[in-house]
Symmetry: C2
Subunit: 211 residues, 2 copies
Amino acid sequence: MLVSAEDIKNMDQKFRALFVNSLSGFKSANLVGTQDNNGTTNLSIVSSVFHIGASPPLMGMIHRPETERSGHTIQNIRETGEYTLNHVNSLIIKQAHQTSAKYPKETSEFDAVGLSLEWSEQTKAPFVEESHIQLGLELREINHLEINGTYLIIGEITEVRLVDGIVGKDGFVDIEKASSVVVSSLDSYHVTEALGRLSYAKPDKPVTVIR
Amino acid sequence: MLVSAEDIKNMDQKFRALFVNSLSGFKSANLVGTQDNNGTTNLSIVSSVFHIGASPPLMGMIHRPETERSGHTIQNIRETGEYTLNHVNSLIIKQAHQTSAKYPKETSEFDAVGLSLEWSEQTKAPFVEESHIQLGLELREINHLEINGTYLIIGEITEVRLVDGIVGKDGFVDIEKASSVVVSSLDSYHVTEALGRLSYAKPDKPVTVIR
């Protein structure tokens, strides 16, 4: 099946959103925890978090134009300079998805969807207690992508909070064991089954499953 | 288990790479197809492709600093202004992973790993015949991220080539049916199992599984 640029342009808006959002492949599922300077907390699901670098440990996240519904997250990140990322696991997909509803700013999505606030001494933003992999981040920069009005938010990881028993001797974190889920398109949730880890690739020898 | 910024900084480099690369969650797995102006083709696996917007249809990709091993991809994208993204599926994970080996520029990874070139009339870059979801893209911009020397490559989708039977009536593409895989950390490959699609979230009613 062939779909041209012209076909995409002519699609109904909702059809196009589901279609194009499918094309990058599977996406991570994270809940962004923030608060404003008055202490009102906010929680928002995002499927746009990605790795930028390990040293320093940097995460990127695409945020839609601020005039639309989900402006509270970026406002809070600007105000406090801090946020959390919490892996969505298979036990909380409905609550996580529900955070995408348009709640008024004075409503905390934690209360509205039934997820629990957890705090650390270090980070001025709330974690999700039900999440098995929680990251505290400090804002490093917000880049406005002129090409479509979205924002690239870059943060540095300042603390990592993990359930026990998922970090291997070589540093690999078994996020499948932590029940982290993946998203496809806008609304589909999936669990994973490991095919294996592959050996470091070298030109002169075939890769093998290492565990 | 708590891991501080200081702990991350003090990790052995390989340990840190596996650890931090696990933290964003699961990642998409794509093969980037390019060629230079002499027609030498290149193929490189990336786990950093992400959705930026549907209208226009934009994809982002993080590319490591150019001085390191994988400079051929970004050089070719600069030269020709075009590239392809091809979903890695469960049948080709070893060949796909093997493209990360350091081959000399005159070697095509297609030949070296045993994947097949496929061409379209429109795109000046090769597709991977074995892939079930193939995208042709035109380069829109390359942003140097000063914070760690990486590059954000943004392209616009100009054609989509899909196996039959995976696009739903509402535009949703069943990438699980297409056997697209996910990556965690640097070297772990996973297939998925759908939990379901969830309804559009509204403040006044709970989300439900729609199919």
